[in-house]
Amino acid sequence: MKQKLNDSTRFSKLEASPFFANFTKTEIKELAKDSTAFENFVAGSYICAEGDLEQALFIILSGEAHVVKRTPNGQTGIVKLKTGSIVGELSLLRKGKRVSDVKALKETMVYKLTPEQTKAKNIQLQVKIKSQILNLVIRRYENLCEKYSELLNLHST
């Protein structure tokens, strides 16, 4: 659901998110101008659903969400996403269907970034956004490498 927020509330929401911790006030102000990027989800609703074709990345500004995978026995939670996390980053790689559901665990506000919205920002801001997403992806990759390495060791022994 699109959320009608005034300028200062939008600014505060972005400023409070760890994702934007390294952004200047001017940059946050610029990002806050886009009122259409703010969306609010009530507990239990879907931020995105498996099979969706939408190409957008979501930055969680407040609340909490769960990445869930559909199985024959129901839904299995894969990972919990908190404030500052991103979701839907694979859509930056290519157009395609979403591979998981993302469900709000409580009231959750996101900042939605489509490739078009990102390109509309000035290039300095684009670099900052890309850098922050890159940092999160590297961290996520590093964590998964560790888990994979442990499992690989377990298999080889």
Binding site: E89, L90, I123, V127, I138, R139, Y148, H155
Partner: protein
């Protein structure tokens, strides 16, 4: 750009050939990493004097524990990512031309977590986060986009391998 002398002592690059390739622009033109770069972008990147390093087959490009703030772009050749496990070496992955490694140095200081060994003659660009951030902003943007694309692909790949191994583990 010269390597930091303090760091260089910690590296084991005694045997690597640090001579610059005959034509750096040619190597960049051949590398898929620079596909989205215009001729002007590539010239501007070269003007910033990044390090080009050549490794012979079997040479270590990085060793686990090395303190090194560079990210590496493979222009030509291929390398294996190795993880020591007791006496044995596990091949964790394989890197080819156009790929990157050492990306964690973009995040923080710290030791390398894997060994990376050249499989065949391999030419890499070694570049620090500080160097990238000093490049013209349009080139920074293209480099970050390319890093992001590679890392997302790699994340997707490891996620698939992990899930497969996990289900193998569960059902065995």
């Amino acid at each position: 750009m010269a390597f930091n002398k303090k760091n260089r002592r910690k590296w084991d690059r005694r045997e690597c050939d640090r001579k610059k390739p005959e034509n750096e622009m040619d190597w960049m033109n051949k590398s898929s990493f620079f596909n989205s770069f215009s001729a002007e972008d590539k010239s501007a990147f070269l003007a910033s004097s990044p390090d080009f390093i050549k490794f012979n087959p079997g040479e270590m490009i990085v060793r686990k524990g090395d303190i090194d703030r560079s990210v590496y772009i493979i222009l030509v050749g291929s390398a294996k990512v190795l993880k020591s496990s007791g006496r044995s070496e596990l091949v964790f992955g394989r890197l080819e031309a156009g790929d990157i490694f050492g990306e964690i140095s973009l995040l923080r200081k710290g030791g390398r977590t894997f060994d990376v060994k050249a499989e065949i003659q391999t030419i890499v660009i070694s570049i620090t986060a500080k160097h990238i951030n000093s490049l013209p902003v349009n080139i920074q943007s293209k480099m970050k986009s390319q890093f992001l694309k590679i890392m997302l692909g790699r994340f997707e790949d490891i996620n698939r391998k992990y899930t497969e191994l996990l289900s193998k583990n569960t059902f065995e």
